[in-house]
Symmetry: C2
Subunit: 345 residues, 2 copies
């Protein structure tokens, strides 16, 4: 939906991308405009409107509550750490009993802008996503039933759920609904780039402007556009050259079982990309420079010079927005009948 | 120091503890007064005076920064979770590569009131304590050098240290000094019991008052007294009856190498004890009821009835104070030259 909006908004000028036309065959038929300001292919982040503060507050508690994991040690915030750009800054995450996760943990910041959730898009929205890690034996390793039993045993949680959801039975759908409601508030407005988009000409430097021009001219913006600067399409990882990795993830094909979807991944948002290292679905790119050079070569057939790379990186760092200012939640204590964590069983 | 203060303050009435005189032989010659109000053996928590807000802010960042661990996954807050009473609510903690820790994680709340740090008192203060887990191969598994290298590679950290410490070389002493300064702010004033101590007669219920009377009359207060309601002496675990545990910790004897110190542990604070389950150095007591009954029997030769246990537990729950209201810190991002975490190596 976001993507089509972007397409509609920008469907004014079909631009010839010299040298990257071949790329676009494999990509969506994204279009870009060259005029500055509101006609840019990237739009500023719209502010969050909180309509149900009680639900957001409950969701925040749940997001930080490690009792949703079997071990009592891993919370949503463990791998989507809101002190660290909503990610864990590890190539792949650490799960129950220190199991190595299969894929790089995507940032939860601005994740409401993702057109689908997970790298392979197997969840349609944040609520559907939130149920995944809780019950994944390689991640939080609990079960939906156990997580609900834990919450149901704690009077403060029961009361909060009842206040928000009335007589509805406390089940995993309510738990994930509250978590999603909290996550929707995790937008990061007011980046320097957004200020520039809104007309503050001094918000970004000459080097950053050059980087942005190059980002557009060389075709990055074909996939990284809109409010999310990405997050609106699946794209093949390795268009011009194949991407070499030890990581077995097959991307979208794991959902569709279609061979054509092999190595198609959700394009990640570039919002706050300065904070969400390392990069790619396998976390193999340690630095932004690595990521830009590899993407340029593999997706666009561009061999950026060191200077060009530095310009694009400088531009990307202007996408760091206001990080959520959150008061650490105080979690209601377990009761005598609360199922206890089992970290070593 | 705190302990001797308590002794001095309360050295007005030597009270005969019928049935527990034998206990006191093995304990300190603590004394208690029966009058209410300011003559009580427990004193209200004094408020924190922050004199160096910048240092506290830096210490908070460090407390939440998992880059002080080898894996990049474990921060101070992992085992001293400020959402959960400053503890991890596990019998023993989870360390690097999911190693099972040797002992129950003590709460960081009010830890500035501890007369020494760690269960065996091997650190004299919070600063000395803070260096321990960072370099402990079973806990955060980093080294002091590596932790300093990580911080030194990050300009925002360098600037903050320079602003606070001037030209001093960024080393582990500064890191632990800042962490300790933050931890000193983690006091929990305004518990209902403290309000009662200060004269608000309605702050605690009749049942809670009975519990407190029993807590004093049966001798708990011999060790659990002062502002910290404990935390001011070493005491033997298992005075009347031996304490049976699979946990090999020997307590104070591990420091002094004295046989007489075997099974002597620092008396834990009972502040916020409602939140810091499970209990004892081995985390074997799952509930407050368990803890009260075992302590009564082993330390005091008391077999509390269910009603008495409930009264003491009710009193203990009045010791939950205002939890620290903290804005989650935003951590400065790693740079290209920042040593990367090694979670799986």
């Amino acid at each position: 939906m976001i993507h089509s909006l972007v397409l509609t908004k920008n469907l004014r000028t079909f631009r010839k991308l010299s040298g990257v036309a071949c790329v676009l065959v494999g990509l969506t038929t994204a279009t870009m405009v060259m005029a500055q300001g509101k006609d840019e292919p990237i739009q500023p982040i719209t502010p969050v409107k909180v309509t149900n503060a009680a639900k957001v507050a409950l969701g925040k508690k749940l997001f930080f509550d490690p009792r949703l994991s079997k071990s009592g040690f891993i919370s949503c915030n463990s791998c989507h750490n809101l002190s660290m750009g909503g990610s864990d800054n590890l190539p792949t995450s650490i799960g129950d009993r220190w199991q190595q996760g299969p894929i790089n943990s995507p940032t939860v910041l601005n994740s409401s802008l993702n057109f689908v959730q997970f790298w392979d898009g197997r969840a349609k929205d944040l609520q559907e996503q939130a149920g995944g890690p809780i019950a994944n034996p390689k991640e939080m390793a609990s079960s939906h039933d156990l997580a609900v039993d834990v919450l149901n045993s704690i009077p403060q949680y029961r009361e909060e759920f009842a206040k928000i959801y009335g007589n509805k039975k406390l089940d995993i759908a309510l738990v994930t609904d509250a978590i999603a409601e909290f996550e929707k508030t995790l937008k990061t407005p007011n980046s320097r780039f957004d200020k520039w988009l809104k007309g503050d000409k001094k918000a970004i430097t000459a080097q950053e402007k050059k980087g942005y021009a190059l980002f557009k001219d060389s075709g990055c913006v074909a996939c990284h556009n809109g409010e999310g600067v990405g997050a609106s399409s699946f794209q093949k990882m390795g268009v011009i050259e194949p991407y070499k990795t030890q990581n077995p993830a097959m991307g979208r094909a794991e959902v569709t079982k279609e061979d054509a979807d092999r190595f198609n991944f959700k394009v990640p948002t570039l919002r706050n990309v300065e904070l969400t290292y390392p990069y790619f679905h396998d976390g193999a790119a340690k630095t932004l420079e690595d990521a830009v050079m590899v993407m340029g070569r593999l997706q666009l057939g561009q061999n950026y010079t060191a200077e060009e790379t530095a310009q694009i990186v400088a531009f990307l760092k202007t996408l760091t927005g206001d990080q959520p200012k959150l008061i650490l939640p105080i979690l209601p204590p377990s009761q005598n009948n609360t199922p206890r964590p089992k970290p070593f069983e």
